[in-house]
């Protein structure tokens, strides 16, 4: 690719500025993408990445600055024009028709273009196969998209983009919701396409991935370039993070906590099974402990949590809480009787009432507790409780009357956590508590989890984020193929721990992790 560097960049953004009422989202931002390059675009949430992507893909027009495509000035006035120019974006949210086949999805534009012409299925499958091969997938074009895994869908999206002759691909957090194995597959595909001259802008929060895949990095901070475009070789983890946050990263890791041998076991699970969590699982949780559940997506962690929180019934096995055998029949049971709260990984779909105000969300689980003897509740009580959590969790909002849908992702997550805390639980299960959340809020949430454990609560943190697990928890359970494949006492030494975890994940060695 060295020779490509010298030629005209395929895409160049010069001094782009974009303002929205009250804020300057982008201020004099420049970006250069060479042919066959994987350019990592990084920055905290709110640094302006999304706005920049929307400008490249024609959703927004910049207030100032110019876009050069192969050295020629160009303006996009709608999202279709960039696609015709070979610029395609693969979003975090899937853009596929779930009930259609792989081939129909890849060639969706072709089959929907003409309303009254016959579709030659065989030709369709044949043509689609070519793109399926390009992304290195091993599925039949006749497969229904619904039956594919998240990672496979992601690759189908790339195939779809390629079918429209894409030369520049923007991947927006492509590995956020797919398993490690699939992420590696995706990275291989990107490398393969790179060789064929496709250029990538790669947006991701995962540093490991960035170092693995990209050749250079552009970092945005507060709507500006945080520095000139740099080659990945000149950077390391620390320097990249400090570029993003603009201050020296304070060592986020929490101290090692010596768990006393005699500390009370609050939760003891033995040979537990449910219809969704079909392999027997046993573990225990002590008072004041933070237990990490690490594993690949789909390794059975959420399924186990769903049994403990009363969503799915247990089919066999025992749950003991503070030494007493219990049967958790419903979410209400878990929350009110056994003091187990679950904070969903999916705050928008499961965690929050987006159209309702903050105070209403925070109190949703305790309406039955805060009503008075006439069975009525006062909005003031709700507001008071919400105010309390607003200041405790530093939820940034002018008022607890604010509609939750209007908040930023990080603050939404805090409201979701407040909703769980309002039930005053003894055991908290955080499912991917910091997914898609900016670095600062992430640190705040880690501190909060730490403080909860310090105050005697027991916490389970489900996370696919290795640094998070290693920095935060006392003990790690590694999940693999629906089983608990190992238990590690965390000594918070990243190098040692990450290797140990990886060994447990790789297990028998049927999965290769590069």
């Amino acid at each position: 690719m060295e020779n490509a560097e010298s030629s005209v960049p395929v895409l160049e953004l010069k001094n782009i500025s974009k303002s929205f009422p009250g804020v300057k989202a982008l201020d004099n931002v420049s970006l250069t993408l060479n042919k066959g390059e994987v350019l990592a675009l990084m920055g905290e949430n709110g640094a302006g990445k999304s706005t920049l992507i929307k400008i490249i893909t024609g959703v927004y027009t910049p207030d100032e600055g110019s876009i050069l495509l192969n050295g020629e000035n160009i303006t996009f006035s709608n999202p279709h024009e960039p696609i015709h120019q070979g610029i395609n974006v693969v979003h975090q949210e899937r853009n596929l028709v779930p009930t259609f086949t792989v081939a129909e999805n890849i060639l969706l534009e072709r089959i929907t273009k003409k309303s009254f012409s016959m579709i030659d299925k065989n030709q369709l499958y044949k043509d689609a196969q070519q793109y399926i091969d390009m992304v290195g997938l091993n599925v039949s074009p006749e497969t229904n998209v619904e039956t594919l895994s998240a990672g496979q869908k992601q690759l189908i999206e790339i195939a779809k983009a390629l079918s429209s002759n894409a030369k520049i691909l923007l991947l927006d957090e492509p590995t956020a919701s797919i398993s490690l194995k699939e992420a590696n597959k995706l990275i291989d595909t990107v490398r393969e396409l790179q060789k064929q001259g496709v250029s990538f802008i790669y947006v991701s929060h995962k540093l490991e991935e960035i170092f693995q895949i990209s050749s250079s990095v552009t970092v945005l901070r507060d709507g500006k370039n945080a520095g000139p475009k740099s080659s990945i070789k000149e950077l390391n983890r620390d320097s990249l993070i400090s570029m993003m946050v603009g201050r020296k990263e304070n060592k986020l890791s929490f101290p090692i906590k010596e768990m006393k041998k005699d500390s009370e076991i609050v939760l003891k699970v033995k040979d537990l099974r449910s219809n969704e969590s079909y392999k027997k699982k046993s573990f225990q949780l002590a008072k004041g402990e933070i237990l990490g559940w690490y594993g690949l997506v789909g390794s059975g962690r959420t399924e186990l949590a769903r049994v403990l929180t009363g969503i799915d019934p247990a089919t066999s096995g025992d749950i003991e809480i503070k030494g007493k055998k219990v049967k958790i029949n419903s979410v209400s049971d878990a929350l009110n009787k056994y003091k187990i709260a679950y904070i969903s990984e999916n705050r928008k779909e499961e965690g929050l009432f987006l159209m309702h105000p903050i105070f209403n969300n925070v109190a949703a689980s305790i309406w039955n507790r805060i009503r008075n003897r006439f069975f009525t509740l006062s909005m003031n009580t709700e507001k008071m409780i919400a105010e309390e959590y607003k200041s405790k969790l530093e939820i940034k909002t002018p008022s607890v009357l604010q509609i939750v849908g209007n908040l930023s992702g990080g603050n939404q997550q805090k409201v979701s956590i407040a909703k769980g805390l309002s039930t005053e639980p003894e055991i908290l299960i955080f499912d991917e508590p910091t997914v898609g959340i900016d670095v600062k809020t992430k640190a705040e949430i880690h501190q909060l989890i730490w403080d909860l454990a310090e105050s005697g609560k027991s916490v389970i943190v489900i996370s696919s984020d290795m640094p998070e697990i290693i920095q935060l928890v006392d003990r790690i359970l590694v999940f693999r193929n629906e089983e608990i494949s190992g238990e590690i006492v965390n000594n918070k030494n990243y190098d040692v721990m990450s290797k140990e975890i990886m060994e447990k994940i790789i297990g028998g060695g049927e999965q290769k992790i590069s």
């Binding site: 949430n45 987006l354 949703a364 689980s365 006062s378 930023s408």
Partner: protein, 347 residues
């Protein structure tokens, strides 16, 4: 209602500053404005409009419409719908009227049994819907089927014959006045106030709206979804029952076809009043005012000497308008949410 959503609207003007601002900012106040304008117009066109007799007729029509609208509003708020409001009303009207006419039961017990029958209908609806997963589609299908079941029961029992022998003290509920105010309207407004209280000050009201706001989240928050669905449908059925009981009193006869024409305006009144079609947000005062507007419009058509056959057409158009208003409102909310988020994230 209730939740202070109105005051939370962004103060910044949206795009399209002038056109249809009243629709986009539609709230109880603007409906009230339309009602006043409409009434002024009608009284200018027809001198019969502002007479005590006519206003009494409007009040009667308004009361039934409001109760039926509230019956629908409760279920819409929970994220569902109740297509059987009319069928429940028909059955309850016949039961109550029949008990008084052919069995000679006292008024109180006839009404009581009527309401019990209605509640059982609601319970039946709720049980099926809770079983089917409490989704919007399940409530559509379930109540579509049960509306035929209830109507069939009604017609089977009566052979489509009405009951005429209704005691005069009973008809007082529909046609009487207390200090010049129609009894039927007093009852309606009291019930509306009670319902407003439920949505504003009780956990039950919150739970119903939580279901409509986000069913999955409601479940994960420990809200007993099935129980709430049951209660919602019982409330809806009781409201429809009261509407039917009052309508029998007003008509001084129990007609088997009571409720046949309820479904359309049961949706129109809450939607005009700001209740969100997809659930999660209701407005009791809005629904009551929406019902008043509907009653005035149909009364106005009489005064304008419009052919009665056009009423059906106009009702349909009103529903379409109400649905559009709902849609405009949602789109607008989403837009302002997006904008606020963007600003916050960029900030």
């Amino acid at each position: 209602m209730s939740l202070p959503e109105k005051s939370l609207m962004p103060t910044e003007p949206m795009v399209n500053k002038v056109s249809f601002k009243w629709i986009r900012n539609s709230n109880s106040l603007s409906i009230l404005g339309i009602i006043v304008l409409f009434s002024l117009g009608l009284s200018a066109v027809s001198k019969d409009f502002l007479t005590a007799t006519n206003l009494f007729v409007v009040a009667q029509a308004f009361s039934i419409t409001a109760l039926v609208g509230l019956a629908q509003m409760v279920v819409i708020g929970s994220g569902g719908m109740n297509l059987s409001v009319g069928a429940i009303g028909g059955l309850v009207g016949i039961v109550t009227g029949g008990l008084m006419d052919s069995m000679g039961l006292p008024i109180f017990f006839s009404i009581l049994i009527g309401v019990i029958v209605g509640s059982l209908c609601g319970l039946f609806n709720g049980l099926i819907i809770a079983r089917m997963g409490a989704t919007s589609v399940s409530s559509f299908l379930a109540t579509l089927a049960t509306s035929s079941v209830f109507l069939g029961l009604n017609l089977g029992i009566t052979n489509a014959q009405p009951f005429y022998n209704i005691p005069a003290s009973y008809t007082f509920l529909g046609n009487g006045k207390i200090i010049g105010i129609p009894v039927i309207m007093i009852i309606t407004l009291l019930i509306a106030a009670l319902l407003g209280f439920v949505f504003k000050y009780t956990g039950l009201g919150r739970q119903i709206l939580a279901l409509g706001g986000n069913l999955k989240c409601a479940e994960l928050s420990g809200i007993l979804v099935k129980r709430t669905v049951l209660i919602t449908h019982v409330i809806s059925a009781v409201l429809a029952s009261v509407a039917a009981i009052l309508l029998v009193a007003r008509l001084t006869s129990a007609q088997p076809d009571i409720g046949n024409d309820w479904m359309l305006f049961s949706f129109a009144a809450p939607l005009i009043g700001g209740t969100r079609l997809m659930g999660g947000k209701v407005s009791v005062s809005g629904t009551v005012l929406g019902a008043l507007l509907l009653a005035l419009i149909s009364n106005g058509l009489v005064h304008l000497n419009l052919d009665i056959y056009w009423m059906t057409f106009i009702q349909g158009m009103i529903i379409l308008a109400a649905v559009s208003i709902d849609r405009i409102r949602v789109v607008r909310e989403e837009r302002s949410q997006r904008k606020q988020r963007q600003e916050r994230e960029a900030a």
